[in-house]
């Protein structure tokens, strides 16, 4: 509430409309220092996040940098048609979906299982060591991780191929074989993130009321039964929320690791929408077309994320007991 010292000179002006607006204006003034504080960050968001949204228009135009967005000729949905008519559309979308599916299959459950196992360890020192070691890969940069993968899997002198040879198998050119790409991608993903992602589940596990375990024990439940009937339901809300959020991201995948890991011979499985946009748009200079593809992807993602976020909020309200 504003302090009683501020005068209100608007007492004579038009009553109803004036007072609502006036209250708002008065609050703006009383919060002026707070507004000052947020100004730089807000300006940042407007300039670097909202202004580019205007640039989305270039997806509907034949953009040339010299003419700028405003003066470039309008082409409507031409780029979108071009994209869907091309052989790439199916391939790219398929790759995104498949990579995310594998992600769901592997990268999602492993942290959960890991957290459950950690939870069973009673020697605290051992538990802490495992945790500390398991979080570490998360902090290694994606460049180093890919660099290690590339070097280990190198066709001539990588350690993996050397081991294969010693065991009597043929060498495999991992990075050029489309069949290996997903495995390498998901494998490095799991390695880097399983420990870090387990933190959330560990927190949820710690939040389960120990009296529930007591009650179960009194009822004669074995350790396994306790896991199934107390632990799992206890972290079910967390799992569901995270699962739904993950589903909302089914059509989106970051290109940072992909463009380091893929080679032209693996494009048919490794090229995704975001890496395609990068290659065609930034490297190839086909701005408008790439922007159109990007816009289509962003819109799909937006719809998916909103729908699943909403679902998650609705469902977890009813699943909480």
């Amino acid at each position: 509430m504003p302090s009683p010292m501020t005068a209100s000179p608007a007492r004579h002006s038009a009553p109803v409309r004036g007072s609502a607006f006036y209250k708002f204006a008065k609050q703006l003034v009383s919060d002026k220092y707070l507004i000052l504080m947020v100004l730089p960050a807000v300006a940042y968001f407007i300039i670097f996040h909202y202004l580019p949204m205007y640039g989305v228009l270039m997806a509907f135009k034949n953009f040339s940098p010299s003419r700028g967005i405003w003066n470039s000729p309008w082409v409507g949905l031409k780029w979108f048609e071009q994209f869907f008519d091309s052989i790439y559309a199916f391939r790219l979308i398929k790759n995104v979906l498949l990579l995310n599916l594998y992600n769901l299959l592997w990268s999602f459950p492993i942290p959960i299982v890991f957290a459950l196992m950690l939870n069973e360890i009673r020697k605290n020192a051992f538990k802490r060591v495992v945790q500390t070691v398991s979080y570490m890969p998360h902090f290694i940069s994606v460049v180093v991780i890919v660099g290690m993968a590339i070097t280990f899997l190198s066709p001539n002198d990588g350690i993996v191929n050397t081991a294969l040879e010693k065991l009597g198998f043929a060498k495999i050119n991992f990075l050029s074989e489309p069949g290996w790409f997903r495995t390498i991608y998901i494998g490095t993903d799991v390695w880097a993130s399983f420990g870090y992602n387990s933190i959330l589940y560990l927190a949820a596990l710690a939040g389960i009321d120990s009296q529930m375990y007591e009650a179960a024990r009194i009822d004669g439940a074995s350790r396994w039964k306790q896991l199934v009937h107390v632990t799992l339901p206890g972290i079910a809300p967390t799992i569901i929320i995270l699962l739904l959020l993950q589903l909302g991201r089914m059509m989106s995948i970051g290109f940072e690791k992909i463009i380091l890991l893929y080679t032209p011979s693996t494009y048919e499985v490794s090229d995704v929408i975001s890496s395609y946009v990068y290659r065609i748009g930034l490297v190839g200079g086909d701005f408008s077309f790439a922007a159109a593809v990007d816009l289509m992807n962003a819109t799909i993602n937006f719809v998916l994320i909103v729908v699943f976020n909403w679902l998650s909020r609705r469902l977890t309200e009813t699943s909480l007991w």
Binding site: Y33, M37, F45, M53, V129, G147, Y213, I241, E256, A298
Partner: protein, 291 residues
């Protein structure tokens, strides 16, 4: 939790212990291997005799790596971006998060909505690139510092933290005549050391490990950070050997050089990590509660 000492219980414990040891090995082995290879005798390394422990001892690869001025320049750049970038990040983040934590802040909802929306939708890679170009940040150091100046997720975490500062504290300070800026500076900030620590760590690691912004905005080699240098050497396998080594030493040493560079680039993080690990965990937890 006391479990009866049943055989199946013991078996489960043993199985879990074995799996955990396996986990530790999997997490550590790649780095141990890289390290061993990097300090081994070059001939042994090239002959693929190194599996876990180094064979022979040679710092030759490191000498080659460290004699190259490019890596020092990249390191200096990364330090610049990390320190400067993180300072800007943390400042802007808490300046934004604190007012948003005050329930009475008149612009609380609109601003919160505005920044959360950016997590769902943005203009895309190309329009952002064109914008950065038009503003004149292309090929300048500022591109890496200003871009990503504020992370929405971190603002939310900070806001959650600040909301634990009671309104009554702020009110009584106001009654004493302090304005919001004074309150923020003299009361809120000193109370915020934990969240500032978490923010510094998250942002700093982000800067240290980032490569993509540099890839698209910094064609000038002199401005490029360490990770981009690593991309060139490890992923694109260009020129390092050509620029540094004569003739036949090239193929022998190239792999060792790669491994040495990995160690040189990752050592700071590995070194600092054990001490800071608990702050990261705390940060993730705070974020989780809000999420």
């Amino acid at each position: 939790m006391n479990y009866a000492r049943t055989t199946s219980g013991r078996l489960a414990d043993a199985a879990i212990a074995i799996i955990m040891i396996f986990v530790i090995v999997i997490c550590l082995y790649p780095l141990v291997f890289v390290f061993s290879m990097s300090i081994s005798d070059p001939l042994a390394a090239a002959a693929q005799e190194v599996w876990l422990f180094p064979k022979g001892f040679s710092l030759n690869a490191y000498k080659l790596v460290l004699d190259n001025p490019d890596i020092w320049k990249s390191y200096a750049n990364t330090l610049w971006y990390t320190v400067g970038g993180t300072a800007l990040n943390v400042t802007m983040t808490i300046l934004l998060a604190y007012p948003l934590s005050r329930r009475s802040f008149v612009l609380r909802h609109p601003i919160t909505l505005m920044i959360v929306f950016t997590m769902l939708f943005n203009g895309g890679l190309i329009p952002t690139f064109i914008l950065v170009n038009n503003i004149g940040l292309y090929n300048t150091r500022w591109a890496l510092i200003i871009l990503g100046a504020v992370g929405v997720w971190y603002v939310i975490i900070a806001r959650t933290y600040f909301s634990t500062i009671p309104d009554s504290l702020v009110e009584s300070a106001k009654l004493d005549g302090a304005n919001d800026i004074r309150i923020f500076w003299s009361i809120v900030v000193p109370l915020s050391k934990p969240i500032i620590a978490v923010l510094v760590l998250f942002y700093a690691v982000g800067h240290w490990n980032s490569y993509f912004s540099a890839l698209i905005y910094l064609p000038n080699k002199d401005l490029q950070p360490l990770q981009l240098y690593l991309v060139k050497v490890l992923v694109e396998s260009t020129n390092l050997a050509d620029s540094v080594l004569p003739g036949e030493e090239k193929s022998l040493a190239l792999m060792q050089i790669k491994y040495s560079i990995i160690i040189v680039a990752t050592l700071p993080i590995l070194f600092v990590y054990p001490f800071l690990q608990k702050y990261f965990v705390k940060g993730v937890m705070i974020g989780a509660i809000k999420g």
